[in-house]
C-alpha cells in the first residue's frame, strides 16, 4: 500500500477509478453537494453578480517550500475570483495524473487542497480524474475552476483607474518564484525563502469592506508586478510611476536574482495583491491591510499619472527614471 502507484486503470472509470475517488477525494473534500455524486454539482446561489474563472497548474517540483501544486491550484483560482471583488464559493478540481505517480503523493496533495479550501472558505463541489500514460504527463497536472459572488457596491475595473491614484502592494515580491527555482535546481539559499502561496480572499474582503472605492485589484502572478502594471497602464490608458525604494524585496531574493540575472519585478508571486485607490484612501487602506496576516508588509509603491500613457516608469534609487516594460520572453539564467 505504501508504494502504491497510479495505474492506467485509475482513470478508466471502473472499479479502480471509483476506489480512488471514494478513498481519497470524497473523504478529503467532504460536503453535502459533492456527496450527492451527481454528474454535475447543483448549486443554490441567490440572484447576484457572479464571477467565474478557471486555471490550470503545472509546477515543477510538485512540492516546494511553502506549498505544493494542490495548495497552488486552490489559491490561484480563489485569488482570481477575489481580484474581481467576489467572495469565492465553489471550486471544481480536475486531476491529470501520470501512470506511476505515487498514490501517497496524491493523498498529500488532496489534503493540501482541502486545507487551502477550508482556509479560503470554499467547497470543492465537483471534479474529475484522468490518467495519462507514463511519460505523457510530468507527474500531475491540476485544473481548478471557481464561482464566486461579487460583493455589493464593488466595481473592480481598469476603467476606474485614473491619475492621482496610489498603487499599493501587499508585501514582498519574488518569494514564490525564487523558492520554486531554488528547489528545482538545488540552489542553496542564504536563508530559507518560502513561497508566499496563500488564499487572499480574506484580505480582499477586509480591504473592500473598509474601502469599497478600490478601482482595481490584481494578483501579480506570472509576469510579476511589472507585467501586470503594464497591462493596467495600457487598459486604463494612464501612466504609472513606481518608486524603487518603496518596493519590498527580501535581501535573499534580491541576492538570488542578482546572481542569476533575474529582475524580481518580473517574478511570479502567489500571495500578493496590487490595489489602485484614490490617494485620499490609500493610507487607510494600507492600515487595514497591515491588520491582516497576508498584508502586514503592505505599502504604497507608486502612483498613477495623466502623462506617459500606457507606460510604466521606475524612479530608481539614485533618482533617474527608467522604463519598466513588458517582458519579451521568459527570464533565463545568465552566464555571468
Amino acid at each position: 500500500m505504501k508504494d502504491e502507484r497510479i495505474q492506467m486503470g485509475h482513470g478508466s472509470g471502473g472499479k479502480l477509478s471509483h476506489d480512488l475517488i471514494a478513498d481519497i477525494m470524497l473523504p478529503a473534500f467532504k460536503n453535502p453537494i459533492l456527496a450527492e455524486m451527481h454528474d454535475g454539482a447543483k448549486l443554490q446561489i441567490q440572484a447576484a453578480k457572479l464571477a467565474f474563472t478557471t486555471d490550470s497548474f503545472i509546477v515543477k517540483p510538485v512540492f516546494f517550500p511553502g506549498g505544493d501544486i494542490g495548495k497552488l491550484s486552490v489559491c490561484g483560482t480563489v485569488n482570481d475570483l477575489a481580484m474581481t471583488g467576489a467572495v469565492p464559493l465553489y471550486l471544481s478540481v480536475a486531476f491529470i495524473l501520470e501512470e506511476g505517480f505515487p498514490v501517497q503523493d496524491l493523498k498529500t496533495i488532496v489534503q493540501s487542497i482541502q486545507t487551502a479550501a477550508a482556509e479560503a472558505g470554499v467547497f470543492i463541489v465537483t471534479g474529475d480524474t484522468k490518467v495519462a500514460e507514463r511519460g505523457a504527463v510530468d507527474g500531475i497536472y491540476i485544473n481548478t475552476a471557481g464561482i464566486g459572488k461579487i460583493m455589493d457596491d464593488v466595481d473592480i475595473t481598469p476603467a476606474r483607474v485614473h491619475a492621482g491614484q496610489d498603487i499599493i502592494l501587499s508585501g514582498h515580491i519574488g518569494d514564490h518564484a525564487v523558492s520554486v527555482m531554488a528547489e528545482r535546481h538545488g540552489i542553496t539559499l542564504p536563508q530559507a525563502i518560502t513561497s508566499d502561496c496563500a488564499p487572499l480572499n480574506g484580505l480582499v474582503k477586509e480591504m473592500l469592506l473598509a474601502v469599497p472605492q478600490i478601482s482595481i485589484l490584481r494578483d501579480p502572478t506570472r509576469g510579476g508586478v511589472a507585467t501586470i502594471l503594464n497591462e493596467i497602464a495600457s487598459q486604463a490608458k494612464v501612466g504609472i510611476l513606481l518608486k524603487e525604494t518603496a518596493i519590498p524585496i527580501r535581501p535573499e531574493v534580491a541576492a538570488v536574482c542578482d546572481m542569476l540575472g533575474f529582475d524580481p519585478l518580473y517574478l511570479a508571486n502567489e500571495g500578493k495583491i496590487l490595489a489602485f485607490v484614490d490617494s485620499a484612501y490609500s493610507e487607510q487602506l494600507v492600515g487595514v491591510m497591515h491588520q491582516h496576516q497576508y498584508g502586514r508588509d503592505a505599502r504604497i509603491i507608486g502612483s498613477v499619472t495623466a502623462n506617459n500613457r500606457g507606460s510604466v516608469g521606475l524612479r530608481t534609487t539614485i533618482g533617474g527614471v527608467r522604463l519598466l516594460d513588458m517582458l519579451a520572453s521568459d527570464q533565463l539564467p545568465r552566464i555571468c
Binding site: 535546481h185 534609487t317 539614485i318 533617474g320 527608467r322 519579451a328 533565463l332 539564467p333 545568465r334 552566464i335
Partner: protein
C-alpha cells in the same frame, strides 16, 4: 560593493553627478567593458543623470554576444545526435546560429537542459550513464574556473560521459587588440568587477602604461558605477592615467589565486574567434592535453558546414563601441528581443537588448 541606506544612496548619487558635471570640461567617451555594467547603467537610469559631454559606450564584455554563430551551429549539431544531452546556461538558448537556435531544437525534441552551475552536469551524467552529457562551456574568466572545477570533479568521480564544448574567452587580449588596431576611440574604461575578482587588476595595467588610458575596476551598484565614472572624469581632466580599483571588497589585487590555479590546471591559452571581432590571439582557453578526453569534439568529431553570419548585422561595430545599436538598420525592425538576429539582442546583458528595452525612452514630466 558599498552598502548604503536609501537616503545615503540618493545623497551619494547627487554628490557624484554634481561633481562629474563640475569637473567635466570636454567630451569624453567611457567604455563599460562588461555587459552587466551596461544593463546596470540603464536600470539605474545613470545615462539620464550624466552631463551631455560624458558618453558611455559598451564594449565586448557580454560572453553570449561574442560567441560566434559557428559555435551555436556546432552545439545544435551535437543536440541532434542520438544519445546526447546538451546542458547550458539559459541565455544561450535563444542565440541564433546560422539557421536555428537551441530553443527551437529543444521544441523539436532535442534533450537540452538549463543548468545554473556546470556542477549540476555531473549528476545529470551519473543519472544518464548511456548518454553523453555536453556542457556548453561559454563565458569569461568569471565562469571558466567553475567549468574547470567541474572537469576535475568529473575526473575524480570517474564520470566518463561528461564533456564540454569549450568557447571560453579572456577579456584583456580583446581590449589589447581593439586598442592596438586603433579600433576604439575611448578616454577611459570601466573594468568588469566579476572578471577582475578572478584575474586581479594587473592584466589591465597595460591600459595606463601603454595607452595612457585610465581604467577603474568597478562593482555593479549605481553608486559603484557613478563613483567610477567620477574617478575616470577626474583623471582625464587632470591628464592622469591609472588603473584603479573601486571594488576592493570583492577584487583583490592578486585576484583569486585558487580559481586561477584550477583554471590554469585545466585550460591553456589559445587563439579564439569572437563574434563580430574575428580571431584574437591568446584570447581563448583550450583544454590542456591531460584533459582532452573531456572535449566532445575529440570524442565525437562532427562536421559542421561554415555558414556566414547575417550580412547586415552590425553587432561587431556595437561591440567595439563604434556605433550605437540604433545605427544598425536591423535594430528594432528585423532584430528584436523576440526575434533576435544578432547576439547583442539576445542576452539580457547585450547592448542592443538593453538599448531596445530602455533605449531613449524618457519619462515626461
Amino acid at each position: 560593493m558599498a552598502v548604503y541606506p536609501n537616503d545615503h544612496i540618493q545623497k551619494a548619487a547627487a554628490f557624484f553627478t554634481k561633481e562629474i558635471d563640475r569637473l567635466s570640461k570636454r567630451p569624453v567617451r567611457l567604455m563599460e567593458v562588461c555587459g552587466t555594467h551596461t544593463v546596470a547603467i540603464f536600470k539605474a537610469g545613470i545615462r539620464n543623470l550624466l552631463p551631455e559631454q560624458v558618453e558611455l559606450v559598451s564594449g565586448p564584455g557580454c560572453p553570449v554576444c561574442v560567441t560566434p554563430s559557428s559555435y551555436l551551429d556546432t552545439a545544435i549539431a551535437y543536440s541532434r545526435q542520438k544519445g546526447v544531452i546538451i546542458t547550458t546556461f539559459g541565455d544561450m538558448l535563444r542565440v541564433p546560429g546560422a539557421k536555428s537556435t537551441l530553443s527551437e531544437q529543444r521544441a523539436a525534441g532535442a534533450d537540452i537542459r538549463i543548468v545554473y552551475s556546470p556542477l549540476e552536469c555531473i549528476d545529470i551524467a551519473k543519472n544518464n550513464p548511456m548518454k553523453k552529457v555536453v556542457f556548453l562551456a561559454v563565458g569569461f574568466e568569471t565562469t571558466a574556473p567553475v567549468a574547470a572545477a567541474t572537469i576535475i570533479a568529473a575526473e575524480n568521480a570517474s564520470v566518463k560521459n561528461f564533456f564540454v564544448l569549450s568557447a571560453h574567452k579572456r577579456v584583456p587580449p580583446a581590449l589589447k587588440m581593439l586598442l592596438a588596431n586603433g579600433d576604439v576611440n575611448v578616454d577611459g574604461f570601466l573594468l568588469p568587477g566579476h572578471v577582475c575578482a578572478i584575474t586581479g587588476e594587473s592584466p589591465y595595467h597595460f591600459l595606463a602604461e601603454q595607452y595612457h588610458i585610465p581604467a577603474v575596476v568597478t562593482g555593479f551598484s549605481a553608486i559603484d558605477i557613478l563613483q567610477a565614472i567620477y574617478t575616470l572624469v577626474k583623471q582625464i581632466e587632470t591628464g592622469e592615467a591609472l588603473v584603479g580599483n573601486q571594488y576592493k571588497q570583492v577584487v583583490k589585487p592578486e585576484g583569486n589565486p585558487h580559481a586561477s590555479r584550477i583554471l590554469d590546471q585545466v585550460y591553456g591559452k589559445a587563439d579564439a574567434v569572437w563574434r563580430g571581432l574575428g580571431k584574437i590571439a591568446n584570447s581563448g582557453l583550450e583544454l590542456r592535453s591531460n584533459y582532452t578526453s573531456f572535449d566532445i569534439t575529440n570524442d565525437m568529431p562532427i562536421d559542421v558546414p561554415n555558414q556566414p553570419e547575417h550580412s547586415a548585422c552590425r553587432c561587431g561595430e556595437v561591440l567595439r563601441g563604434k556605433i550605437t545599436p540604433r545605427e544598425c538598420l536591423l535594430f528594432g525592425k528585423t532584430c528584436t528581443p523576440e526575434q533576435p538576429v544578432g547576439a547583442c539582442m539576445v542576452s539580457v546583458e547585450g547592448t542592443c537588448a538593453a538599448w531596445h528595452r530602455y533605449g531613449t525612452w524618457r519619462w515626461q514630466g
